[in-house]
């Protein structure tokens, strides 16, 4: 049975982590159970709801469809790390001001997914925002407020970029 367990070395939110993990363990279970990073949530466990969304080497992935052992040598970022970095402070603030979350269970995944769109720059249309977020399930809000918040941040960032370019 020992071959079922693997040594794993990776970076999580900038910190070096070495753990021995069960080969069948998903990334999100590893983050939650072994590292106590409970900000990534488990909603459906088959890749539909997006609550487990985390960043793997900069790209958003489903923590429930990724095995922890696949992340050997990789850099993983979770909502805790991204929040602490201040990189999405404007997006978090917009979600709060617009009440773009209710129970908050989908929110970490929703924020990371939205940030992936915003990071491309420009101001996406509401339809593009909806399309981009269409893999993240939210049962509470009906999505309208989330689209509003993401749209507002896109406009604000575009505005401040323009200002920067002008000066």
């Amino acid at each position: 049975m020992t071959e079922r367990f693997c040594d794993l070395a990776l970076t999580v939110n900038g910190e070096a982590v070495r753990e021995r993990v069960d080969a069948r363990k998903t990334l999100v279970d590893f983050l939650r159970e072994d590292l106590g990073l409970t900000g990534s949530h488990v909603g459906c466990e088959h890749g539909v709801c997006g609550a487990c969304t985390v960043r793997l080497d900069g790209a958003i992935v489903r923590g429930c469809l990724t095995l922890a052992v696949q992340c050997d040598g990789a850099s993983v970022e979770t909502i805790e790390g991204v929040a602490d970095s201040g990189a999405i402070a404007d997006l978090q603030q917009a979600f709060q001001a617009r009440n773009a979350l209710q129970c908050g269970f989908c929110t970490p995944g929703m924020l990371l997914t939205a940030q992936a769109l915003l990071a491309r720059g420009g101001v996406p249309s509401r339809e593009q925002i909806r399309e981009h977020l269409s893999g993240n399930y939210c049962r509470c809000t009906g999505y309208h407020a989330i689209v509003d918040a993401v749209e507002a941040v896109a406009q604000a960032r575009a505005g401040s970029n323009k200002t920067k370019a002008a000066t």
Partner: protein
């Protein structure tokens, strides 16, 4: 970003200086949720905690001949493998009946099936292990010898003499039946110019909370106390039930509810697997955690809305509705769910059909029958989407039959806004509704005439768009009439305790719970306004039966209206107490003082006299300087329960604008509107978001969501890949408007708003689809979800 205007309201009764009532202030508890710092039950870990997984019946109905646990017990990490019979030694069974639902019956239900499994997914054995993965591994090693029994899966034949009776002791498969008759129904139909009849079918669906049900039970044999971390809407109700069925005193049980990842009525019931988790903790004397996985959620979270209704409406050529008649048949699970019963949904359908209209003639019959399927019970907007769909679809069918515009048809039949107080043909009592004001408002918001012109213009280009409406009424702020009178220990009153801390901030302990609606924010706004402090000085604590006032929790759109009023009254009481202390310090009459923006001021001039921190300092640390015999009381508790009306009914109307692709049957939602009247609006943005979220849940029911069972009682689509839920890409923007008719039952005047969206959306979307299809000669669709194949079938294309 469109945040509702954050401006003080002009409500006279609540017009305190610096009022937060009517302002869209952000919720105080959101920042941590955006940082991944929530504390959901699925996040809870305790020392020595074990995990339970359940072996579940693969059959809808089967006798359990034997359970072989030998191999499972030897599996790595396994702590215990427990059968239903063993667990029954620790926990007594329950029966989900209430005395005010006359004649309702059900059979005893055990935490784990004993001898017989009655639906696919019912737990038949529990495996407790060090990890959930190990528990699941060992479940695979439990061998159950089943004898498959005939499954009763068709409500239409459930009462036939040839159909097996699921519980022999009950005599038949009838759970509950209600009949109602008002006015002269036969005469009214006979004198109608047109009678429109249809059979409506509503697909069984479920809540799909993003966080599945989760429970951590911790029986501490040393303290002889049970602590249960549970994502529930009703902590005190659960405290009572855990105690009752474990043979404990209520004070031996503490229920803690922290963040809850969505509830919508799903998390307000007694679930066998959660009861089993609690019993296992008692049995094993250690914490046990159960988090349903998604497949378990689909086969065990309550389902709802599985109704077939034959219905008809009589109408005069001038548009007057002469009568409504319905015959409702609904197939629940093998048990009526405890303690709220599975009879309430059908009962609500009978109560609500025809509710917005003046028509006095109404006949209804509702029958609730047992099925070998997962249990059904109350889910957001209980019964409302069904009653509203039936009523509103009949209304638009009747309007079409006599060639009248559906808005004009409603104008002629909606109860006039000056008719209140009044009653309905179903026997409901209305304090003050505003159907006509709401109709006028939505017609203006959506530019109805403009949309009709656009519809006609596009029709010529072969683009088929539809407009549909649904007027509705909603039950909110229930009094004891809902459950208490039926014998359920579910509190209709709620309480709030407010305390001035030693630096001038306010702590408020409230009996209601927070599942994301913003209940804590509403309570904070009420306390801050009534007492007189900035909002950031108020901290609200909920969800702890050891520490909050006894209350009902959050369901039936009661948190803001009932919990908010209790908080408002508690804030006022504490203000009076604090002013008594301040008056004593300042040698002033308390009536001449007020508290504004966190300071004691002269009531006349607003001049600041004393900081609240100074009042607290003297009262707590230098009470020796206060006059002899004066005792400062810096904590106050108030409770509230509606007494004037059994329910605070609200009303509203929704409209849908959509496009149907006549070749593929796909529906594209373009826009949705809702105007609702929940009385005093405490926080416009939170109300709007309740409406929007509710609308989308209703749209899910209309277009997507369906628990599909086969004839053997197998759920065919119990996962999120096959069971479709609304996602961002398909949903429309939703505009929300308000009419404000406060209830005089409370000082605050707030009614509930949590279910209005869900109540009206399905009927409204169906009307819009039928409106789009009508000129194409399609059959009128009266079955949801409105899948593409049903639309193509209505067009005779498949």
């Amino acid at each position: 970003m469109k945040i509702a205007d954050d401006v003080p309201s002009a409500l006279s009764a609540l017009d305190r200086p610096n009022s937060y009532i009517g302002r869209s202030v952000p919720r105080p508890n959101l920042a941590r949720l955006t940082q991944g710092r929530g504390q959901y039950v699925s996040d809870v870990t305790l020392p020595r905690m074990a995990h339970v997984a359940f072996v579940r019946s693969p059959y809808a109905h089967a006798r359990i001949r034997a359970i072989d646990r030998a191999t499972a017990r030897q599996a790595p990490g396994v702590i215990a493998v427990v059968t239903g019979a063993e667990l029954a030694q620790v926990m007594t069974p329950w029966v989900g009946v209430l005395t005010h639902l006359k004649g309702i019956k059900s059979a005893p239900q055990h935490a784990i099936a004993v001898e017989r499994a009655c639906w696919q997914g019912e737990a038949v054995c529990a495996v407790v292990a060090r990890s959930r993965a190990e528990a699941e591994d060992a479940c695979e090693l439990v061998t159950v010898d089943y004898e498959e029994l005939t499954a009763v899966t068709d409500p239409e034949t459930a009462l036939d003499p040839m159909t097996p009776v699921i519980h022999a002791s009950l005599g038949d498969n009838l759970t509950f039946e209600r009949k109602h008759e008002a006015g002269e129904v036969d005469t009214a139909f006979a004198t109608a110019d047109e009678v429109v009849e249809a059979t409506f079918r509503f697909g069984r669906h479920t809540g799909v909370t993003n966080e599945p049900r989760a429970t951590v039970a911790d029986w501490n044999a040393g303290d002889q106390r049970l602590t249960v971390y549970q994502g529930t809407q009703a902590p005190h109700m659960m405290q009572n039930l855990f105690a009752k069925h474990l043979g404990l005193a209520e004070h031996q049980v503490r229920v803690l509810t922290k963040d809850v990842g969505g509830s919508f009525g799903i998390k307000v019931h007694t679930y066998a697997d959660e009861m089993a988790t609690v019993a296992l903790s008692k049995l094993l004397k250690r914490p046990v955690k159960f988090v349903a996985d998604r497949i378990e959620s689909f086969v065990t979270d309550i389902h709802a809305r599985d109704h077939r209704i034959h219905a008809k409406i009589g109408v005069k050529r001038d548009g007057t509705i002469t009568a409504f008649e319905i015959d409702d048949l609904t197939g629940i699970g093998p048990y009526s769910v405890y303690p709220r019963t599975s009879g309430i949904e059908a009962n609500q359908v009978v109560n609500l059909v025809g509710g917005p209209y003046t028509c006095p003639n109404y006949r209804a019959r509702a029958r609730v029958v047992f099925q070998n399927k997962n249990v059904m019970c109350q889910y957001r907007a209980v019964g409302h989407p069904i009653a509203t769909s039936v009523t509103e679809n009949l209304v638009e069918m009747a309007a079409a039959r006599i060639g009248m515009d559906p808005v004009e048809f409603r104008r002629r039949n909606l109860v006039p806004d000056d008719a209140y107080p009044c009653g309905s043909a179903a026997g409901l009592k209305f304090e003050k509704l505003s159907h006509h004001a709401a109709l006028a408002k939505i017609v203006a918001m959506m530019d109805y005439q403009g949309l009709r012109a656009e519809q006609a213009r596009l029709r010529e280009q072969g683009i088929h768009r539809g407009i549909g409406f649904a007027s509705f009424i909603e039950v909110t702020n229930p009094s004891a009439a809902f459950y208490g009178v039926g014998g359920a220990r579910i509190s209709s009153q709620d309480g709030a305790t407010v305390r001035l801390d030693a630096t001038g901030a306010i702590f408020c302990h409230a009996g209601i719970t927070e599942q994301g609606q913003g209940a804590e924010a509403a309570v904070a706004q009420c306390v801050a306004t009534a007492f007189g402090v900035p909002l950031d000085k108020v901290r609200v604590i909920t969800g702890d039966t050891d520490n909050v006032p006894y209350g009902g929790g959050t369901w039936a759109s009661r948190a803001a209206g009932i919990g908010g009023e209790a908080a408002w009254q508690a804030g006022k009481a504490l203000r009076a107490n604090v002013l008594a202390v301040a008056g004593s310090i300042l040698q002033a009459a308390p009536e001449a003082l007020d508290i504004r923006n966190g300071a004691v001021v002269d009531a006349d001039t607003g001049r600041e006299r004393l900081g609240l921190d100074e009042v607290a300092r003297i009262a707590y640390f230098r009470p020796d300087t206060l006059p002899p015999g004066f005792q400062a009381e810096l904590m106050a508790t108030r409770h509230y329960v509606p007494r004037g009306w059994p329910f605070a009914f609200t009303n509203g109307i929704q409209a849908s604008w959509l496009e149907v692709d006549a070749d593929t049957g796909f529906v594209r939602l373009l826009k949705h509107w809702c105007v609702e009247d929940c009385g005093t609006v405490i926080n416009p943005q939170l109300v709007d978001e309740q409406v929007r979220g509710g609308v989308v849940q209703g749209i899910g029911a209309a277009l997507l969501e369906h628990c599909v069972y086969d004839a053997r009682g197998q759920l065919l689509n119990g996962n999120m890949a096959d069971y479709l839920v609304p996602m961002a890409g398909e949903m429309p923007d939703i505009e929300v408007g308000h009419v404000v008719s406060p209830t005089a039952d409370s000082e605050l005047g707030a009614k509930g708003a949590g279910e209005a969206g869900t109540a009206g959306a399905p009927g409204c979307v169906v009307n819009a689809v039928n409106d789009a299809l009508r000129p194409l000669g399609a059959k009128v669709i009266t079955e949801i979800p409105l899948t593409p194949d049903r639309i193509l079938a209505a067009l005779d294309k498949i």
